[in-house]
Amino acid sequence: MHHHVATIKTNLIIFGLLMLLLVATVGAAELPLGPLNFPVAMLIAATKTVLIIFYFMHLTGTDKLTKTIVGTMFLWLVLMILMIMMDYLSRDWLQILGK
C-alpha cells in the first residue's frame, strides 16, 4: 500500500508508448510477413500488457509474491494453450484417421 506514487509524467510516457505500439500493431498487420504476422501481433500485445501490468497496475512496486502470482497466471494460460495445441499440431502425423 505504501509504495511509491507514480508521477503523472510516468503515466503519460506509458500511455504514449501504448499508443505507439497500437499504431505498430496495425502497421505490422499490413506488412506482408506471412506466417510471422501472428507472432508479431502477439508480441506487441504482450509488450503492451507488460507496460500496463508493471506501470498502470503498479507491479513494479509490489513484492515477490504478487509478481509470482502474475507470472503463474500467464504461465498457466500458455501451458493450457500449448498442451492443447500439442494434440492439434500432431494430429495428422500418423496419417491414420482419428489418430
Partner: protein, 559 residues
C-alpha cells in the same frame, strides 16, 4: 472395546454446571445462520448442504446397483431412465459433494484455526461462496424434479449439444455456479494462508492439512474457470444452435473434451488432496510419532497440483486425440505416481514403530492408505496407452476412480469428521459405533468395487443398464457390498446427530493432538482464540510418552 467415551460424557453431566463460556454456536436464529460471516458457521452450512447432495447421489447409486442385480433392465423403465440416474449420481457426487466436501466444511472450519487466525481474509466472500453453491444446488434439484439430464457428468459433445433432449442448459448453469463457489473458497484460502498466519507460524510449521488445502486452492482458481467457460460454450451452442463443438457444423468435439478435462482431471486432486491433508493429521496423532518426511509431503502436495494439470489427455486416449499427444500424456500421467507414492510411503513410515491406537479416525485413515494405493496403482494401468484401449469405458475405470474418490476422498472425509467432531460440536461420538462404521465402510466398499475391476477387465462396459448374463454373479456381489457400504454410511449420520442431544462436554483436546486448533476450547469461541497464539515449535511434535495422558480413554491404549 469399551465405551469410555460415552462414560466420560455421562460423567461430565454430574459435574456442577460450569459458568457459560461464549462459543460460536451461541446464536440460533435463522438470520444468525443465513447471514453469518463466521468461517466456522459457514463450514457447518456447507456440511449440512453437502450431506443433502450426498444422500441424493446415494439414492441414485442405490437405484443403479439394484437395477444391475439382474442382466435384464427391469427396475428402471428404460435405458434413458438409467442414463438420467448415473448422470444424477455423477453430477451430485462430484460437483455438489466431493469437490466442496473437505475444503468447504473441514477446510473452512479448520484453516483459520490451524494457522491461528480469527477468520478467513474475506468472510463476506466466504458467505457468498455458500450462496453460489446453494444457487447451483437449487438449480440441480430443480433439474431432478423436472426430468433430469442424461449426458453423464462429463457433458460430452455432440450428444449434449445436439441430441440430448434433457435439461442440459440448466445443468450447465448449475455447474457454473458450483464452480464459482469453489473459486471463492480457493481464493480466500490462498490469501488467508499468505497473509494471516499467526506469529511464528512459518511455512514449514504449517500443518500438512494447510499445505494440502493450499495446493487444492491453486487448482480451484486456475482450473475451475476453464470448466465454467466450457459449460457456457455448451449452453450457447444449445441455445443458439450454432456449432462450436458440433462436427456437423464444423466444430471439433474433442476440443470440448480438452477444455472439460483441463479442469476435471485436476478436480480429482481437488477431491483427494484435502483428504491427504486429513490423513497427514490423523496418522501422526494416532501413531504418537512426528510425521515422517514433513517437507516431502508438503512439496508433494504442490507437485500433485501442478502435475495434475498436465495429464488430462489420458482421458482422451481413444477419443481421436493425436497418438503423439497421447504418448506425452501417458508419460506425464506415470509421473503422478511419484508424489502420490511419496505420501503413502511417508504415512506408513510414520506409523512404523509408532504407538498406534486404532480409534475411529485412525481406522478410516488406514483404510484410506490401502484403498488409495489400489486406486492409484490401477490408475497407472489405465494411463498405459495400450492397456487403456482395452479398459477404456469399462467397469475397470469405474472401479479405479471409485477407489480414489470413495476409498480415498470419502474415507478421509469421514475420518476427518470423526477426528474433528469434538472440536466442531463439542461432543464426542460413540467410539464403538464409530469403529463399526469404519469397518462396514471398508468391507462394503471393497465388496462393491473390487468385483467391478474384474467385470471391467472381462469387458463389461460402463453406463449400460443391461449386460450379458455371465456377469451376473459379480454384479450381485457388488450390489450386496453396496448395501453394507450404505449401512456404514448411515451409522455416522445417525450417531453424529444423536451425539448432539446433550450439551457440549468434549475436552479441548481429546486426542492429545498438537495442532493449534486443539489449543482453543471445544467448540471454539467466536473469535477462535482468547489470545493470538504464538508458534514456537515444528508441527507434529508427538512422542510415544504422551499417550499416557490421552484424555478420556483410561489406560487401555493398544501398543
Amino acid at each position: 472395546m469399551s465405551t469410555t467415551v460415552l462414560d466420560q460424557t455421562a460423567a461430565a453431566g454430574h459435574k456442577p454446571p460450569k459458568p457459560h463460556r461464549e462459543t460460536y454456536l451461541d446464536a440460533w436464529t435463522v438470520k444468525s445462520w443465513l447471514l453469518t460471516t463466521d468461517h466456522k458457521r459457514i463450514g457447518i452450512l456447507y456440511l449440512i448442504s453437502i450431506t443433502v447432495f450426498f444422500l441424493i447421489g446415494g439414492v441414485a447409486a442405490t437405484t443403479m446397483r439394484l437395477e444391475l442385480m439382474t442382466p435384464k433392465g427391469d427396475l428402471l423403465s428404460s435405458p434413458d431412465a438409467y442414463n438420467r440416474m448415473f448422470t444424477l449420481h455423477g453430477v451430485a457426487m462430484i460437483f455438489f459433494f466431493l469437490v466442496p466436501s473437505i475444503p468447504a466444511t473441514l477446510g473452512n472450519f479448520l484453516l483459520p484455526l490451524m494457522i491461528g487466525a480469527r477468520d478467513l481474509a474475506f468472510p463476506i466472500i466466504n458467505l457468498m461462496s455458500w450462496y453460489m453453491y446453494m444457487i447451483g444446488g437449487s438449480i440441480a434439484i430443480a433439474i431432478i424434479l423436472f426430468g433430469g439430464i442424461d449426458t453423464g457428468w462429463t457433458f460430452y459433445t455432440p450428444f449434449s449439444t445436439m441430441f440430448s433432449n434433457t435439461l442440459v442448459v440448466p445443468a450447465a448453469f448449475a455447474v457454473f455456479f458450483a464452480g464459482f463457489s469453489s473459486i471463492f473458497t480457493g481464493f480466500n484460502f490462498i490469501v488467508t494462508v499468505h497473509t494471516m498466519r499467526a506469529p511464528g507460524m512459518t511455512w514449514f510449521r504449517l500443518p500438512l492439512f494447510i499445505w494440502a488445502h493450499y495446493a487444492t486452492s491453486l487448482i480451484m482458481i486456475l482450473g475451475t474457470p476453464v470448466l465454467a467457460i466450457a459449460v457456457m460454450l455448451i449452453a450457447v451452442e444449445r441455445l443458439l444452435r450454432v456449432g462450436i463443438f458440433d462436427p456437423a457444423l464444423g466444430g471439433d468435439p474433442i476440443l470440448f473434451q480438452h477444455l472439460f478435462w483441463f479442469y476435471s482431471h485436476p478436480a480429482v486432486y481437488i477431491m483427494v488432496l484435502p483428504g491427504m491433508g486429513v490423513i497427514s493429521e490423523i496418522v501422526p496423532c494416532f501413531s504418537r510419532r512426528p510425521i515422517f518426511g514433513y517437507r516431502f509431503i508438503a512439496y508433494s502436495s504442490i507437485a500433485l497440483a501442478i502435475l495434475g494439470f498436465i495429464v488430462w489427455g489420458h482421458h482422451l486416449f481413444v477419443s481421436g486425440q493425436s497418438m503423439y499427444a497421447g504418448l506425452v500424456f501417458s508419460f506425464l500421467s506415470f509421473l503422478v505416481a511419484v508424489p502420490s507414492a511419496i505420501k503413502v510411503f511417508n504415512w506408513t513410515a510414520t506409523m512404523h514403530k509408532g504407538a498406534i491406537r486404532f480409534d475411529t479416525p485412525m481406522l478410516y485413515a488406514i483404510g484410506f492408505i490401502g484403498l488409495f494405493t489400489v486406486g492409484g496403482l490401477t490408475g497407472i494401468m489405465l494411463s498405459t496407452l495400450a492397456v487403456d484401449v482395452h479398459l477404456h469405458d469399462t467397469y475397470f475405470v469405474v472401479a479405479h476412480f471409485h477407489y480414489v474418490m470413495v476409498g480415498g476422498a470419502v474415507l478421509a472425509y469421514l475420518g476427518g469428521l470423526h477426528f474433528w467432531w469434538p472440536k466442531i460440536t463439542g461432543r464426542m461420538y460413540p467410539e464403538m459405533f464409530g469403529k463399526l462404521s469404519a469397518l462396514a465402510v471398508f468391507i462394503g466398499f471393497n465388496f462393491t468395487f473390487f468385483p467391478q475391476f474384474i467385470l471391467g477387465y472381462l469387458g463389461m462396459p460402463r453406463r449400460y443398464f443391461e449386460y450379458a448374463p455371465e456377469f451376473q454373479v459379480l454384479n450381485v456381489m457388488s450390489t450386496a457390498g453396496a448395501s453394507v457400504l450404505a449401512f456404514g454410511y448411515g451409522l455416522p449420520l445417525i450417531y453424529f446427530l444423536w451425539s448432539l442431544r446433550k450439551p457440549p462436554s468434549a475436552p479441548a483436546n481429546p486426542w492429545q493432538a498438537t495442532g493449534l486448533e486443539w489449543q482453543t476450547e471445544s467448540p471454539p469461541p467466536t473469535h477462535n482464540f482468547e489470545f493470538t497464539p504464538k508458534v514456537e515449535k515444528a508441527p507434529y511434535s508427538y512422542s510415544p510418552v504422551a499417550v499416557e495422558g490421552f484424555d478420556g480413554y483410561g489406560d487401555h491404549g493398544s501398543h
